[in-house]
Amino acid sequence: MLNFRSPETLPLVNLSNAGVRRNGRWLVRGVEFSISPGEIVTLIGPNGSGKSTTAKTAIGVLKADEGHVERKPGLKVGYVPQKLAVDWTLPLTVERLMTLTGPLKGREIEEALSATGVLHLAKAEVQHLSGGEFQRALLARAIARKPDLLVLDEPVQGVDFSGEIALYELIKQIRNRTGCGILLISHDLHIVMAETDTVVCLNGHVCCRGTPQAVSQSPEYQKLFGRRAAGTLAVYSHHHDHTHLPDGRVLHADGSITEHCYPGDGHHHDDEENVHDHGEDCGCGHHTRLHGYDVKEKGDA
């Protein structure tokens, strides 16, 4: 694989302490991460944790109410939103969808559609596609633009398991071939794309971050997902010092309960283990392992 992260490369997007507030409530706060060319960043977190909000803030669809978001000047974004419903009154074929936000050559359209495996659907109306086919068409549209930054909000939703692996393979190829940065939002709290460089776990703020562990190291997963999946998917193990309770309050590792878990509230610190696979900039203070979290969150998701 090529190395796109030379020291002189400026990040495509950099969020520092970014927060978005709506109707007096912080949707997400204290978000810190950056995406460099060729880097894949995956956002994970339970429903309502601010993943989509964070992605939209990164690309300027939402304005940050605090902190800073810097984008490379002239940044070209390719975006696959989480939800996209085309009204049935709008006659829109897959082919026409491709040039929705900018002109493309016929050859570029064909290449992108065949890369995502939906070239045979070029003349089909988008309303007639299945969920998985529509996701592929949307992905084709986003990559055909040859963006600097590809933002994919749950791109594998509605796609079956082998399709999911194929799409992750494709995303990896796109990154390797074009060197674009990719911001991926995963619907799964634990399984992420193996090629992910950084996983950022959100729950109203950055709960933890780290790199995923390859599935292939774990025989159970290999048995569960099969050999092909093992190279594509990876497991991310969370290292949290607090748990989000169902009523919105927060249980900290020291046993105390608070209304929120904003860094600096005095509950995120000093533990004998001081586990730190995520650096000083994670926005959460120090973290300790809290076992049992994984099982609990899985039930919520």
Partner: protein, 276 residues
């Protein structure tokens, strides 16, 4: 030839249908039918204010319709009520304020029925100049705004993320609507303008394979409806606006008939075993 009132009405009506076509497509794609109604109803307030302050009628109607749409944007941002309820409030309050102001002005006699349902006798040669001048402006604006308008119709966030400006586009779209309402009011009447936007576009849907085809077809179908409606109006001495709408509905009903569907189904069934 243009001194004939009927030919004037025909030329004016076709001009309106041509610009209403693409705009009407966006009204149904964006589900803004009720919004169009609200802007049209506010036109009566524009009429009343133009009489009260002795302003040009079209300018006054355009300004009031534009103000109402901006007001709606502002109220939507506050988010206290649903758009539906806000539209209901704006629509009927503008209409009622218009009617009340007109009632107060005992010194003016206005042809209320003419304003509400359209009057082909009212079309002057200068109206034709305004309609075609305005029409060409509207068509140019739509062509220029086509990509951002379509992209933000499909998904505003997608459009925003990829460098188009959906908010600005939406504002321009509303101004275009206000312009069309101001221009079309005389012929089709305040209460029926929305139908000239929506019905031809809805009729065009079935025969369209792309947004562009649908926009052009809507213009053609609208022009047919205007022609048919005006001939009917002349022949049976019916009000022009409702006659045009009746003709448009006639075409819409025709489009619902299963003519021309058979070949597609036949082609589909002609490959037994070819299904995958």
């Amino acid at each position: 030839m243009l001194d004939d009132f009927f030919v004037r009405a025909l030329i004016a009506g076709i001009g309106i249908a041509v610009m209403a076509g693409p705009l009407g497509c966006f009204v149904i794609w964006r589900r803004m039918a009720y919004f169009g109604d609200t802007m049209a109803h506010s036109a009566l307030l524009g009429v009343a204010l133009s009489l009260l302050f002795e302003l040009n009628l079209m300018v006054s109607v355009f300004i009031v319709a534009a103000v109402v749409s901006v007001l709606l944007l502002f109220l939507q941002r506050r988010g206290a009520l649903s758009t539906d309820a806000l539209l209901g409030i704006l629509s009927h309050s503008a209409l009622s304020f218009g009617l009340v102001i007109v009632a107060f002005m005992t010194w003016v006699r206005i042809d209320l029925v003419g304003f509400l349902f359209g009057d082909i006798l009212a079309v002057s040669e200068s109206d034709i100049d305004i309609i075609w001048g305005g029409g060409i402006l509207v068509i140019f604006a739509i062509v220029y705004l086509w990509r951002p308008l379509l992209a933000s119709t499909v998904n505003p966030e997608l459009a925003e993320a990829e460098g188009l400006k959906p908010e600005r586009t939406r504002l321009f779209f509303m101004l275009l609507m206000a312009l069309v309402i101001a221009i079309a009011m005389k012929i089709v009447g305040i209460l029926l303008i929305t139908s000239l936007l929506i019905i031809p576009a809805a009729t065009a849907r079935r025969f369209s394979t792309s947004p562009e085809v649908m926009a052009v077809l809507a213009s053609v179908i609208g022009a047919l409806a205007v022609t048919g409606g005006l001939f009917g109006s002349l022949h049976w001495d019916t009000p022009s606006g409702p006659s045009i709408v009746v003709a448009a509905v006639g075409l819409f009903v025709l489009s619902l008939l299963p003519i021309g569907r058979r070949p597609i189904e036949a082609a589909h069934h002609s490959t037994p075993g070819g299904h995958h």
